[in-house]
Amino acid sequence: MKKEIPLAITFISGFLLVLALFIPHKPFGNLEEIFNDWYIIVSGFTMLLGIDSLLEYNFKKIRRKEKDAPYSLVLILSFFITLIWGVTEIVRTPEHNPFSPTSTFSKYFYNSIFMPLQSTMFAILSFFIASAAYRAFRAKEFNSALLLVSAVIVMLGRIPLGQGAAPYVITVIFLVFAWYFYAESVGITETGTKLLYILVSVAFIALIYPIGWVYLKQHIPSFADWIMNVPQMAGKRGIMIGIALGGIAMSIRIILGIERTYMK
């Protein structure tokens, strides 16, 4: 029964909701609304479950005197101070709201402690992103070179200084590629391949002016838009359709009781 009851609840709920969508009349018509109301209520209670789990985990750490127990103590103290003061403000303020104009502590706590802390955590990402971009964007093969050039064009196309900087950036990138293909051609003995490498190298030099100094100097924002609107969107749409199909398949498996991992 431990397995059968949850499976039956899942099947009946899933089946009724699908039915409600196709039969918008009583008694099925307002089923979705009722189920959603229940969902909203249950969602509210899951927060209590989250609090319980968070506190239990951190109390355990303190009891065991683990290495990072002081952090757990800070968390627990912050939790109870915020909670007690929040409740006090609800009772104390005429609006019964911890963020009303008269609730000084909550506002102070939110604006001066919580907001800077959370913003700082996120701001640190910029350092990691810069470092990761430097290490990850390497022209190891054709595909990665293409990704690198596209990323540079989008980055340039989305900033006001992009149009001015684009010709110089493209000149440097194309010169690097031209040098690389020429250097590669030196060691090649087969005439056809050697010529091809030299041609590619010359092509990069020849394209610097028309692409960098004529086209991109004027059109880099629209070219960046094109990258976002065509190849990027095509890839994104493919992923989205894949996710949606996967979601449907998974939902059917859950409703029919084939997929049972949610019970573990």
Partner: protein, 274 residues
């Protein structure tokens, strides 16, 4: 010589961090703004809001928190200026509980500047858990989800809410998105109830919403700090986003320079190995 290129290919991350810090901090401290040509998506969003008749009711959804504040808060503030300047009526709610005070404080501050009255010109409904369930049920009847505002005032007693039953009475949803709530607004709000939507998104989320623009499932998307700066330019209220554009420009160029330097080192070393 090889040692030099090895250094180029493997610059110490502390040097990168320091450069990023300086390239961001110095331009922000100068507080200089730049001339920007707004992106077509932002122009489209602006023109739609401009075309709304006076007293139209717009809904704002706060679906972000302090982590995404530098990008999304300027969008919210500019939108509120734009809306109140046009005498639109604003209903604010949110699906990110921790971000709601950001919306509430901006709403109260900006409404005061335009002498708008709570309950008549704007209302703050607050938060209900359940995202998709909340969006779906509001499409049938907003009162079924929010029977009162955040001050526990029954919404029937608020003049602004007397003419609003569901999304049919809302002329625009302006969603500020740092996560997946934007998808829920489109999949339920638009797809089921034809709710007109403009989304303000963080830069990292923006590409996710491009397919919805092309499919006309959203009116438009204002993406990242650049989108916020474009919107500020169009509304003619330069703010934090416009100030941030110089820093963003410089940091983009710095990252591009690092990428090029890293590749020069990498390609030379690869040649040397052969």
């Amino acid at each position: 010589m090889t040692e030099f290129f090895k250094k180029l290919a493997g610059i110490d991350r502390r040097i990168i961090y320091l450069t990023v810090f300086l390239a961001t901090a110095i331009p922000i401290l100068t507080k200089k703004t730049m001339k920007i040509e707004p992106l077509p998506e932002v122009k489209k969003a602006y023109e739609y809001i401009e075309s709304l008749p006076e007293s139209s009711i717009v809904m704002v959804s706060i679906d972000y928190d302090a982590a995404s504040m530098p990008e999304l808060q300027p969008m919210l503030e500019t939108f509120l200026h734009h809306a109140f300047r046009k005498n639109l009526k604003v209903i604010m709610l949110g699906h990110w509980a921790l971000g709601l005070p950001l919306g509430q404080q901006a709403l109260e501050d900006i409404a005061k500047k335009y002498n708008k009255i709570y309950g008549i010109d704007y209302v703050f409904l607050g938060y209900r858990p359940g995202v998709a369930a909340v969006i779906i049920n509001m499409g049938k009847d907003i009162k079924s989800v929010f029977s009162s505002d955040y001050k526990y005032t029954p919404i029937d007693s608020l003049p602004i809410m007397r003419s609003v039953k569901n999304y049919k009475d809302i002329k625009l949803l302006f969603g500020l998105e740092a996560g997946a709530v934007g998808d829920a607004w489109i999949q339920y709000g638009y797809a089921r109830y034809n709710l007109p939507i403009i989304l303000g998104t963080t830069a990292v989320m923006t590409p996710d919403y491009y397919p919805y623009i092309q499919a006309n499932q959203v009116i438009s998307v204002i993406g990242g700090l650049r989108g916020a700066a474009d919107y500020e330019t169009l509304v003619e209220i330069p703010g934090q986003a416009s100030i941030g554009m110089l820093a963003q420009s410089v940091i983009h160029l710095v990252i591009i320079a690092f990428i090029i330097i890293g590749n020069i080192g990498f390609l030379v070393l690869r040649r040397a190995k052969k």
